[in-house]
């Protein structure tokens, strides 16, 4: 994967998007910047525009207003879509609707094949991606016959085969059970440590709490962004954004009301216990 040589960025500038035939805007003037080597969580209620934003970033959708510079490339230029797909790989929600091949290794090879790489290079990328994700032993299996969690790992390996600078996850954990979700999150953190930028669209605040930065969208606008403790620490605020505050956050909020504020709030039980023993 890429090292730290000149971190690449995704710059979202005044981005608006309206779906053809839709009455309202899905995104209204979004300004954001993402950089390599960081793990971002993108939150928001259904219809808040988070998937639309992810799709605008890797040129699956073209802005109807403002612009997106993905690693310096304007996504509105049709001729450069392939370059953007190379740099920003995407994993979707339902693993069943993103499988194209009949073996795991050919599934992972699909992206590199489309990039027109030579067979030895494809081989190398497939092996690297499978090893990184920890599913080298599944190389010869049929994707359709794997469990949901394994399928999603195959999809992630497929995205990594593109050797991207950023990985966009469009609710890729929402259909998985806890152990599979846990594995995927662990992988995202590893990828971040290796210098990749990870942008994870999710419903789960517990996942977002592990990110370096959180962005919350509502009605197509950025309504909160920053470190998890700052964006997700106030239970009332979190509720008003259409999200369910974490249990520890709710209790910390009540403690504050009782005159025992927990400095910086709490996102997990450990933080509460630490405060209790301080």
């Amino acid at each position: 994967m890429r090292g730290n040589e000149g971190r690449l960025r995704i710059q979202v500038e005044g981005l608006s998007f309206t779906y053809p035939g839709a009455s309202g805007e899905a995104l209204r003037g979004v300004d954001l910047e993402f950089e390599q080597g960081r793990f971002y969580a993108l939150l928001g209620r259904n219809g808040s525009g988070k998937s639309t934003l992810a799709r605008c970033m890797n040129a699956l959708l073209t802005p109807t207003g403002g612009r997106v510079l993905s690693c310096g490339i304007d996504t509105a230029e049709g001729s450069t879509r392939r370059d953007i797909h190379k740099l920003l790989a995407m994993v979707f929600q339902d693993p069943d609707t993103q499988m194209v091949a009949t073996t795991v290794e050919e599934e992972v090879a699909f992206g590199p094949e489309n990039l027109g790489l030579e067979p030895p290079e494809i081989r190398r990328r497939v092996d690297d991606a499978l090893r990184l994700v920890g599913i080298a032993h599944l190389a010869g299996r049929q994707p359709l016959r794997l469990s949901q969690g394994q399928k999603q790992l195959v999809a992630i390996a497929g995205a990594l085969g593109m050797n991207p600078a950023f990985l966009l996850s469009d609710e890729s954990t929402s259909m998985l059970d806890y152990s599979a979700r846990h594995r995927v999150l662990e992988l995202f953190r590893d990828l971040r440590s290796m210098g990749m930028g990870v942008i994870h669209v999710t419903h789960f605040l517990e996942e977002a709490a592990e990110a370096d930065a959180v962005v919350v969208l509502d009605e197509g606008r950025v309504v909160a962004s920053g470190p998890p403790a700052k964006t997700l620490g106030d239970p009332e605020r979190v509720r008003s954004l259409g999200l369910e505050p974490l249990a520890a956050t709710v209790v910390a909020g009540e403690l504050g009301r009782l005159g025992h504020p927990v400095p910086g709030g709490a996102l997990d039980v450990k933080e509460l216990v630490t405060w209790l023993n301080a």
Binding site: M90, T97, N114, G116, G158
Partner: protein, 262 residues
Amino acid sequence: MTGSDITIGQYLAAPTALHGVDPRLKFIAVFAGIVMVFIYGGWSIVAFAVFLLALLAAARLPLLQVLKSLRTVWVIVVVTFLLQVFLTPGEVVWHGWFLSATDTGLYNGALFSARVLLLVVLLAALTMTTPPLKLADGLESLLRPLKYLKVPVSRVTTVISITLMFIPNILEQSRRLVRAQMARGADFESANVLRRARDIAPVLVPLFVKVFHDADELALAMDARAYAGGEGRTRLYPMKIGALEAALTLAFVAVSIGLAFV
């Protein structure tokens, strides 16, 4: 909509000798077979059927399953047969009620039914042993010359491969929907044909909606992975035609043509 059958067009994971054959050769063989099936007369078609089935059995294709999966086709075959038998003029060999079977009718009925069956078997053998993506690659490679005539070959082959990829999805969805609507009191086990027919809409409408939605998602996922048809696409395992498989394909085509003179 019973669950356990293999359906025509669905890829078979269990490997057969035909799985490894270059998709282009398979296309050529199947194409030759289809053309000849329509040329053959009486004994030729019998000989070809024996030849083809023996070949597929030798390649370890589960023939019984193939034939069972033809259930929907059997209806067409039987109707074709009956129409031919009773509606072709000729010497009457059997008479009952208001129908009479003729000798020419029997001959035509058998011939036409055999044609339909062999056609389906040939196509089934192709799709069962070739993953959809390889089918698209192979077809695109064979049809490349048509690009000079401005035929959108890539698009056509992509559409074909996505369609084939969706067969397992469609089956799974329809099974799910039948059970979901049964839970809402729909009756698919009723002896009342009218009632059963009425309860098809609650399965078909959401099936279409879901399959179109999923196809859309798949197209998006393929797009995100830089798929733009076969143009500029390389392969992890490049398509390469071996001498042996080429010779065998040639032999198959030659035998198929030769059988016309039986």
